[in-house]
Symmetry: D2
Amino acid sequence: MVILLQCSDRVGLVADISSVMATAGLNIISMKEFVNVDENRFYIRLEIQGDTDTAQLQQQLKARLPDDTEISIRPYEKKKIAILVTKEHHCLGDILLRNYFNTLGAEVQCVIGNYNNLEALTTKFDIPFHCISHEGKEKHAFEQEIQEALAAYEFDYIILAKFMRILSPEFNSKYASRIVNIHHSFLPAFIGAHPYKQAYERGVKLIGATAHFVTNVLDDGPIIAQQTIYVNHTHSVKDMIRLGREIEKSVLANALQLVLQDKVLVYHNKTIVFEN
Amino acid sequence: MVILLQCSDRVGLVADISSVMATAGLNIISMKEFVNVDENRFYIRLEIQGDTDTAQLQQQLKARLPDDTEISIRPYEKKKIAILVTKEHHCLGDILLRNYFNTLGAEVQCVIGNYNNLEALTTKFDIPFHCISHEGKEKHAFEQEIQEALAAYEFDYIILAKFMRILSPEFNSKYASRIVNIHHSFLPAFIGAHPYKQAYERGVKLIGATAHFVTNVLDDGPIIAQQTIYVNHTHSVKDMIRLGREIEKSVLANALQLVLQDKVLVYHNKTIVFEN
Amino acid sequence: MVILLQCSDRVGLVADISSVMATAGLNIISMKEFVNVDENRFYIRLEIQGDTDTAQLQQQLKARLPDDTEISIRPYEKKKIAILVTKEHHCLGDILLRNYFNTLGAEVQCVIGNYNNLEALTTKFDIPFHCISHEGKEKHAFEQEIQEALAAYEFDYIILAKFMRILSPEFNSKYASRIVNIHHSFLPAFIGAHPYKQAYERGVKLIGATAHFVTNVLDDGPIIAQQTIYVNHTHSVKDMIRLGREIEKSVLANALQLVLQDKVLVYHNKTIVFEN
Amino acid sequence: MVILLQCSDRVGLVADISSVMATAGLNIISMKEFVNVDENRFYIRLEIQGDTDTAQLQQQLKARLPDDTEISIRPYEKKKIAILVTKEHHCLGDILLRNYFNTLGAEVQCVIGNYNNLEALTTKFDIPFHCISHEGKEKHAFEQEIQEALAAYEFDYIILAKFMRILSPEFNSKYASRIVNIHHSFLPAFIGAHPYKQAYERGVKLIGATAHFVTNVLDDGPIIAQQTIYVNHTHSVKDMIRLGREIEKSVLANALQLVLQDKVLVYHNKTIVFEN
């Protein structure tokens, strides 16, 4: 199993955690820690071998560690994901291919689109596709339908693979910390709609993409991964959209790998990513 | 000489320009053009061999080309620059070295600092240094002193090599389109003060630097060059400042080379850069 | 149509070419030229509007231009490609998705694999798959079978999308300048088999991928595109293979776009790429 | 102090090391470890607070750890370096500036050049410069003179900041593992002389620079840091040299920071770099 744990820092935390593991007869096969000295905060990721009662282990750790300790114990099981899309195919296609060839580190459970143009692609790979249009509906009703569709599946994360509708705070909090979005700009630059048009108009020499957890503030959640590529005056908005797609799918794939392998901790709207 | 020319696009512009040059007995040794089809705008950079009356050439070109044509004819002479600094040495040091070894493509005329800690470095390279403190002065008085110091020199551009004061619209318009600034963020993200602190707090995974012409809107002028580098949760604000300095000096050096070789045109707050 | 033309440089080439076009009643909508001054070589890419007899146009251009002029006139038609693969799916999957969504700039005619594990993926997208095993065959016989399979299709280029067999000079010359390969290293480093193992053993801090035209010297043909990414001591050979796949597919996609849009000229084992 | 330690891996190494430190009354303020599972090799970097007899500490660690353990205990003292140059100024200038402003993490003791053109720059910064020409001398005599000049100084590392002579095995082994070189290519591509000319002739789309420890095999020592930048067909050899200089100085600066802060371990011609 993987244990992600964070708490305020003090001397002896690693020793205390190691001792709890030893007492429980568990073998630490990998340990990555990080201390943010300025914020006096301790983060650790452990890979553990051995059988144990995880509720009991959690209790033993809590008993030994600071009061503000947050622990997440996760079994070595393939994660399950649900995907929301609008019309663009590049991120979805990339994820479906990885899923098909078992390199995603997750099992795609379903795809929900507010248009039907990605249905044919999705069903080629034997993944259920639900077309739920937003048209002529209030946001609440639209999201209600999505939730009903989702209710038929078990999943760990919802991936917004270029889902172009803003979700309500109610929706977000129902799946808190479990929604990953890809935004087509280098955040915090160009928040909101049409970031490539904004980038073109500002005349930037680099464009970017950002994968982040969704919170109730638009495009403001904890950033998991980012990437930029060079552009110049010869690139039209259309060219930027085309080039941007390449890094959008690359950044999202990278972020998914990190999230699905339990390598990401979140604290105060920021991520700690234990990459290697 | 180098000719930078822009106008609204129509068929036959290159032929018209070539014909003016041929009539004037001038030899085109390099021609780079770009048409922004969406904006119907034509840009060209010419390197020309031969002697001519430039005022007359300008007239001949204007007579043949659209009414909105803007022409800048520049002799093959080394540009002259004045530098403004505050306390940080990395950009200034880099420029002084290039100047000393004749690889800057310009001659540094003077350095003006609002502190004196860069005086020793500057005078090592036999460049005059003027310490003009901003302390206890109104902006107007401070800038007046700078202008008086500058008045003793001829220069084509003012380089803000980490000059940490915001200049007034009056100052900027006096040297319109001739002030180049290096901003320590990937603009338009993190405008204003302490961009690395802002970056740290937002939890971005890349930090950047931007060289741009100065206008009256803070950190909003036409962007000449940008660069980003990866950071992660292990980087403190201090680490970001240290890493950022490396790309600040690299981006500024790159932008200066482009500007000083007359490779940059400006239109509507954006640059057209004929890099190679 | 697109015209790619190269010859030894002399004064007046652009004027001569423009004049031939004007006489033929053809409209130049885009012109990108490059002169290699050191090698006295002129390269140009033209996009032309209007109808004409291309054989006649070719003759008219030849008559006006230097004796060593090489001209390639290509209609605005979607290119056709055949793909050769071995076992790895990432490049093929990426190409099939782009083909399916019409963003490849080509039509995939067929896929030939020396194993059958990519058949299911290929046929999902209604592309014919031919499994031609190399096992128990001499190279000549193996290639003969491939050529027979290929003979059923029309195609402009053969794409080696991680085809792990070395093709014979006979095969290569049959499709001279029409075979594009993706090699999983930053050429000329790590030529031949197992480049990631070589990279791991050398302890490099960057790995790369190279798309190039195939010639009779292994991994030595004209390079179209290259890319590198950072690695470090924590990356095993397996990690490098996994990371490398991401840039392999990205570099190949980039190279294909350039080749399929007739943006690449070749001279003396090097490419001239008119990117924008 | 910093402790760099490596040995074959077994269970309990971190516990053993921690226990030795505790017994010695030493406080571990930072610990970075890496296990190469494929090679069964354990690496650790410790930052330690507290006073101790380092010879005794070394003995205590050896007694507790595997027989093949290699330990290097280094005090928190600024390193000292000697620099060898030929004619190019960019790397030397960069180092001298950092030295002058105390951001190098070392004290430059002297500069030795086989030409005198960098003397004026060096002495501006009050660093002794020795001009030792190689002309008309056998390698042995030349190196003898260098060694005599070096003998007047204490130094931890020799930095070859674009020193364009190949040093003999005798010289190298005298300063084994203490010579850092910057090579102007992405090694192992373009070993030896004129790498940019080689790169131009091969038609690569990226050029690079490599900082490495010097061994007796030319350009083959353990790599510390590498970087690449894009080039294209418009870049002449001269352009590549100019662009390359920017990354040469950046890669060397980066490598020096890592080496001078005791963040680099070497094993079997490869480096383990504990970057953050």
